[in-house]
């Protein structure tokens, strides 16, 4: 009986995770792009990450939020298994390619600026890129980002300040920024 129950609940949670992952997929891909710094590697990583997340679905507990949970699993997959392969194959040495961004606004200058911002963001070192993604694109708090990346809050702060200094230098100060 216990095994029937856990089997049914495993199928249920796998189905829930599958549905959740399907709607979160663009965000997972964006996260993979920040981790890997290249579209080609992001496309590879996101495929592997989906399989990994589905594979571990029965361990998912609703407390943490599927997004942060899948980000954690994906980061571990990248750091522990896939990054060294990518580096060995020399992909790590490729220059960061330009991503073709769809226009978001009617103002062409705003769209151009968005492309510049993204291009500069992708030039940041991996650790800063992924932290910038979680805090400024995903909107996570420092604490949430630190838990997701399994690093102290102080490290989140120092990564963000280093990233801010570089982006500021490359793009000029954000005159339009509200806060």
């Amino acid at each position: 009986m216990a095994s029937d129950y856990s089997n049914a609940s495993a199928i249920k949670s796998r189905e829930e995770v599958r549905q959740g992952l399907n709607s979160l997929f663009p965000r997972l891909w964006r996260y993979c792009l920040a981790l890997t710094g290249s579209r080609e590697r992001a496309d590879d990583l996101v495929q592997a990450a989906c399989l990994r997340v589905l594979d571990k679905a029965d361990r998912f507990q609703a407390g943490i939020g599927l997004d942060r949970w899948m980000f954690r699993l994906t980061q571990r997959l990248w750091l522990n298994e896939l990054r060294s392969d990518a580096v060995r194959r020399g992909q790590g040495l490729l220059p960061v390619e330009k991503i073709d961004l769809p226009d978001q606004k009617s103002d062409p200058r705003a769209n151009l600026f968005a492309r510049q911002v993204l291009s500069e963001m992708l030039k940041l070192p991996e650790a800063q890129r992924v932290t910038v993604l979680l805090v400024y694109m995903e909107g996570y708090s420092y604490r949430e980002a630190s838990e997701t990346l399994d690093i102290p809050v102080g490290t989140v702060m120092s990564r963000l300040s280093a990233a801010r200094a570089k982006l500021n230098e490359a793009l000029g100060e954000g005159k339009r920024e509200a806060g």
């Binding site: 249920k12 599958r18 891909w29 589905l54 300040s161 230098e169 793009l171 100060e173």
Partner: protein, 97 residues
Amino acid sequence: MSAKQTYSDADLTAYLDGELEAEESAKIEAALANDAGLVSRAEGLRIDVDALRSAGTALLDAAPTAPTVLLQEGERPPKQQPRDATSPQLRPPSCSL
């Protein structure tokens, strides 16, 4: 007079991001009012967070389509066949919790 408090770039970043407690934030604000050097360091850390967020939103539209393993049986292309035990047929659980 107390010794002048020094703030690191990380502190200033947390201030800019609104991550500090109100008390700590007020202290930095007061220090900024009296310390041109601190102001210039803070200026050096300013970025357009809105533009970054907006670029992030645009990136979502650049994402590839989700892999078939994430689709429901009915949504998958017909050529796709269940390959092995790692992708079992997904059915709604027959018993509830």
